[in-house]
């Protein structure tokens, strides 16, 4: 798990260009799949035949992460950007960023900006270029970038990395695919694109698959970080079974099944009620004529910053719960 997390979080995969991570995931999961396809939007769909082919189980984790897109290059070589996905400017600025071709720069804010005036238009990237011409050799309008990889183990088996949202979900999906010994239903492991801009990829993938049951794997805000209020989830409190977020009310069938499986297998769990944010769960629930959809959430602190934090015990719990679901199905 540690290796998957490190490998996945260091890959380049910003919303709209997830190809590098897609190739890495494909290599990791290929040996455990019966069939692999990539759809027009770029979703990676990994199929595994199950004991009961009357039912289809779709599992989804998104490959993309938030980032920045180049909108303008000034004569001085300074690069102006806009956000891709929900960027909190303070959380990302004064950090190094990396483009797909490896060009590195620093993300800064115009120095005369008062704290209350901080907005996207004040943000820029300096790649060290002295002129527009020099900058344009490395970067052009429309190029995307993200903060450079961070990966660090802290006390108590807690890890910080950038883009754990949702590389941790991708890692759990791969881990569960490898660990599952039997498959209750035809199982589709789907690594989706463009979740951060409105769950776009999962819409087409879910339409193609038309699942009976669907479970997303995504991070959720841990309510025990300073400044968080009224959120029940705790870091280290176990796998979080989602009840609702701003995009979905999870199907009771899935919530109950996950609860039963957690208790039976003695997996520590907690319920999650997220007041904001959405997940691929919503698009799967509404695909075609609809399906029973839920989400296993990984408690995470400092989401959408370069230092997202998870607890390895929670991660392992989520993977065990997912494996139990794949093997035993919905009773």
């Amino acid at each position: 798990m540690h290796n998957l997390m490190k490998k996945f979080t260091s890959a380049f995969s910003v919303t709209g260009d997830e190809s590098e991570l897609r190739n890495i995931i494909q290599d990791e999961i290929a040996a455990f799949a019966d069939n692999i396809t990539v759809d027009p939007m770029g979703n990676l769909i990994v199929f595994k035949k199950g004991e009961n082919s009357d039912k289809k189980l779709m599992l989804a984790a998104h490959m993309d992460e938030i980032g920045f897109v180049v909108t303008y290059i000034e004569d001085s070589g300074i690069i102006r950007v806009s956000n891709v996905g929900g960027i909190h400017i303070v959380h990302s600025s004064f950090h190094t960023v990396r483009f797909k071709n490896g060009t590195t720069g620093v993300l800064c804010i115009d120095s005369d900006t008062k704290p209350e005036d901080i907005k996207m238009g004040k943000l820029f990237i300096d790649i060290g270029a002295k002129t527009k011409k020099e900058a344009e050799k490395k970067v052009k309008i429309g190029d995307i970038c993200a903060v450079t990889p961070v990966f660090q183990k802290l006390l108590n088996n807690r890890y910080v990395a950038k883009a754990l949202d949702d590389r941790i979900g991708c890692a759990i999906l791969v881990d569960a695919a490898r660990n599952s010994k039997k498959f209750a239903y035809d199982t589709y492991y789907v690594f989706t694109v463009q979740e951060e801009v409105g769950c776009r990829g999962s819409k087409t993938a879910a339409f193609t698959i038309m699942p009976d049951y669907a479970v997303a794997l995504d991070v959720t805000t841990a309510g025990d970080a300073p400044g968080e209020k009224n959120l029940p989830v705790k870091l280290g409190g176990g796998a979080a079974i989602k009840i609702k977020d701003n995009s979905v009310i999870c199907s009771k069938v899935i919530v109950d099944a996950l609860t039963t499986l957690a208790e039976k297998n003695k997996i520590e769990y907690q319920y999650e009620v997220l007041l904001m944010g959405g997940t691929d769960t919503s698009s799967m629930q509404l695909a075609g004529a609809g399906c029973a959809a839920g989400c296993i959430s990984i408690p995470t602190r400092y989401i959408h910053s370069p230092v997202e934090m998870v607890d390895m015990a929670d991660v392992k719990g989520c993977s065990a719960l997912l494996t139990a679901l794949i093997e035993d199905g919905i009773k």
């Binding site: 709209g16 897109v69 909108t71 429309g142 463009q194 339409f207």
Partner: protein, 341 residues
Amino acid sequence: MLDRLKNYCNCISPSGCEDEIRELIINDIKDYTTSYEVDRMGNLIAFKKGKKTPTKKILLSAHMDEIGFMMKYISDEGYIYFDIIGGIDPRVIGGRRISIGKNKTTGIIASKAIHLQKANEKGICVPIEEMYIDIGCTDRISCEKVISVGDYATFQPNFEALGDNFIKSKALDDRFGCALLVEIMQKELEYDTYFAFPICEEVGTDGAKEIAYNFRPDIVIVIEATTAGDIVDAPKARHACDLRSGAVISHMDGGTIYDKQLVEFVKKTAEENKIKYQIKNVIAGGNEASAYQKGASGARVIAISAPTRYIHSASNVVYNDDLFEIKELVSALLERGFENA
């Protein structure tokens, strides 16, 4: 193309009431298409066979609808209160002439004369709810003889050549795209191609959603009009695009992140054919590409747009040569086909 563009721009066809423009387009294409149909919502979709049948289903799209107004209440004095259809800045409508309903009744969007404004009203825009339309009636009964609640309206047709090779009109967004598609359809095509004229783009790309579901295209090219910001005070980093700088290719906007490979393919085709193009540099706005991209099992999408000043007002302004650059680019793309895109 310009005569056609004029006729199309002058149609009164806001979102939800596209009959006039649809009839005009059908009339212009019926002798040139292999087949066409109008679906349940009112989208027009045409198919034209080319010399070859490609492995991918290619669809060109330009929306028929325009922004407009809807009548919602007639007062005892015979004034009509209204709401807007699509995104219209209330600051650009005061004092404008509009055409209402089937009879194209002329109305004026009333604005209080500056002489009557109190000090605290000066320089302030009246909210839409307080604006009203004056059609020159004396009371409710006479007004109701020509206007019904629920009638549609648009800015009055006002297409004209402007200065040095510019064009001004309402509804260039997106009658330009419609006119271009029709021009292209009237020529021989290399590959089989679908042409879609969706409705209700301005109110949430509703029409294209149905087309995406029914037609399942592999590749969609959206032809649009997009905001040009080459106006006083706008910093260059916020221009989006400029008039006289050629076809606008989008890599990302408020609704869509365009297919990276297709964007490169379009840029390359433009360069090889010496067609002037620019990359949209503000991430805002959107078009029906978002509906095609995530409709059904998804499609690969691109958008090619005409740089347009004062978009969503009564006076959109475009530069003639830009329109022809786009026509050349789209023709070159269709000639080349998307087999290797």
